[in-house]
């Protein structure tokens, strides 16, 4: 396991009989205390499918129940109960007949990263653009990998907006995603949008995209709830 940001860690799990998954799917992780008390939560898979390795990227929710354990107590060699993969809707489509727009807010980038990785692994030619809204450059998950992917192009474009704090010399966007920003960033020939983040973020982005004329049925949404963690 390794840190992605101050609040976010990735856990690489070795699952011997893993059946494979589709990018965008999640798993349920169940923890059991020594007196039998159990708690379970869903986490998006961050890795592309292939082999027994499943990576989960987990943001610590301070008053959460499972995420503080996974990000602070767990260490290499621990075993977890997993259920999954789950979900057949918010999943990468290698042939959407047009461009794909990935819009992530905060840790909502996790299932989108699985799609970017799966796209690269498949050598999919689908024109794809990621719009990633984070509070600051330090809060950008997968920063180095996204920077490398951005430089290698091949039909993948990455646009950041940093809503609270920007590094010196920042030339990118520095505000919350609004309709004007979307009108500048959304691909032309847009076939499918995957939108993931906290509820206020996805509500605002979805409403703006519909207002710009994008078909509601072509906007797939996954929400990261504010509770529990």
């Amino acid at each position: 396991m390794w840190p992605e940001t101050d609040r976010v860690k990735t856990l690489a799990l070795d699952v011997a009989d893993w059946p494979g998954h589709r990018a965008g799917q999640h798993v349920d992780v169940r923890l059991t205390a020594d007196d039998g008390y159990q708690a379970q939560r869903s986490y998006s898979i961050a890795s592309a499918a292939g082999g027994p390795r499943v990576e989960l990227t987990v943001e610590r929710i301070d008053d959460g129940e499972v995420s503080p354990y996974l990000t602070e107590e767990a260490h290499t060699g621990d075993r977890f109960e997993l259920r999954g993969p789950v979900g057949g809707y918010f999943v990468w489509d290698p042939d959407p007949h047009g461009a794909v727009f990935l819009v992530g807010g905060g840790s909502g980038v996790v299932p989108l990263m699985a799609m970017i990785r799966q796209r690269a692994a498949n050598h999919d030619a689908v024109p794809t653009r990621l719009l990633y809204s984070a509070r600051s450059w330090e809060d950008v998950i997968y920063r180095d990998e996204l920077e490398r992917s951005r430089n290698h192009g091949e039909g993948l474009e990455i646009v950041f907006t940093l809503t609270r704090e920007q590094p010196p010399g920042w030339t990118g966007y520095s505000r919350r995603v609004d309709r004007e920003l979307l009108s500048e960033v959304a691909p032309t020939e847009l076939a499918l949008t995957f939108l993931c983040g906290p509820t206020p973020f996805v509500e605002a982005v979805a409403e703006s995209l519909v207002g710009l004329g994008h078909a509601p049925s072509r906007i797939k949404i996954e929400r990261f709830g504010p509770t529990g963690g």
């Binding site: 020594d34 869903s42 129940e65 509500e203 995209l209 509601p216 949404i221």
Partner: protein, 201 residues
């Protein structure tokens, strides 16, 4: 045997009555939002609720007609498949029994259909006898759009994806036809007390 998570204590809520919290759920005071697409906003003068399919005659209510039907205020616990349970939620709505009154049908199932294209399937027997409502009020206020307003189905004894948001009608069917989540990996029936979350549960 479950794997014991070394050092895991958990955040137990001793005030949560175990006989009201289904297995694998935790109690929240928030009201999280879950939906797979954008929130629809249908103007009330274009809104209606219909009962169609295997029925003697199609039934239809405009918004004003639905609101004029006798309503009930109900207090129920709700459980979402994403693991949260919310106790003592207060709703106002029309019992589905009222809407089905006088409807002649041989159907045993139904599909609730919604603005935005969402569907969910239920046995007819699960929405009758005071088990389901078309709800338009929550906690004394009109139901907010992100929670399914103007009206959503309320079937509190099943996981909450069965309580379809933005519901526009019921299609009665002879056969059981899996809806949106039921076709995408989630359990066909969804009893929280049996933890029927996913295919195979």
């Amino acid at each position: 045997m479950p794997i014991i998570s070394r050092g895991f204590k958990g955040r137990r809520r001793d005030d949560a009555p175990r006989d009201r919290v289904p297995p694998g759920q935790y109690v929240t005071d928030d009201f999280p939002v879950l939906s797979a697409g954008p929130t629809p906003h249908t103007p009330l003068d274009q809104w209606d609720f219909t009962i169609v399919g295997e029925v003697d005659e199609r039934r239809r209510w405009t918004w004003d007609e639905l609101r004029a039907l006798p309503s009930e205020t109900i207090t129920v616990d709700i459980s979402c498949v994403t693991k949260w349970t919310k106790l003592d939620t207060i709703w106002e709505g029309v019992p589905v029994d009222t809407l089905l009154e006088g409807v002649e049908t041989s159907a045993e199932y139904l599909t609730a259909f919604c603005d935005g294209g969402y569907t969910t399937n239920l046995p007819l027997a699960d929405v009758t006898d005071g088990q389901a409502w078309v709800a338009y009020g929550y906690d004394g206020e009109p139901l907010e759009p992100e929670h399914g307003g103007p009206a959503r189905l309320l079937v509190p004894h099943l996981y909450f994806w069965k309580s379809a948001k933005w519901v526009r009608g019921l299609r009665l069917t002879a056969t059981d036809e899996p809806g949106f989540w039921e076709s995408n990996g989630y359990h066909n029936y969804g009893d929280p007390w049996k933890e029927q979350r996913y295919w195979g549960d």
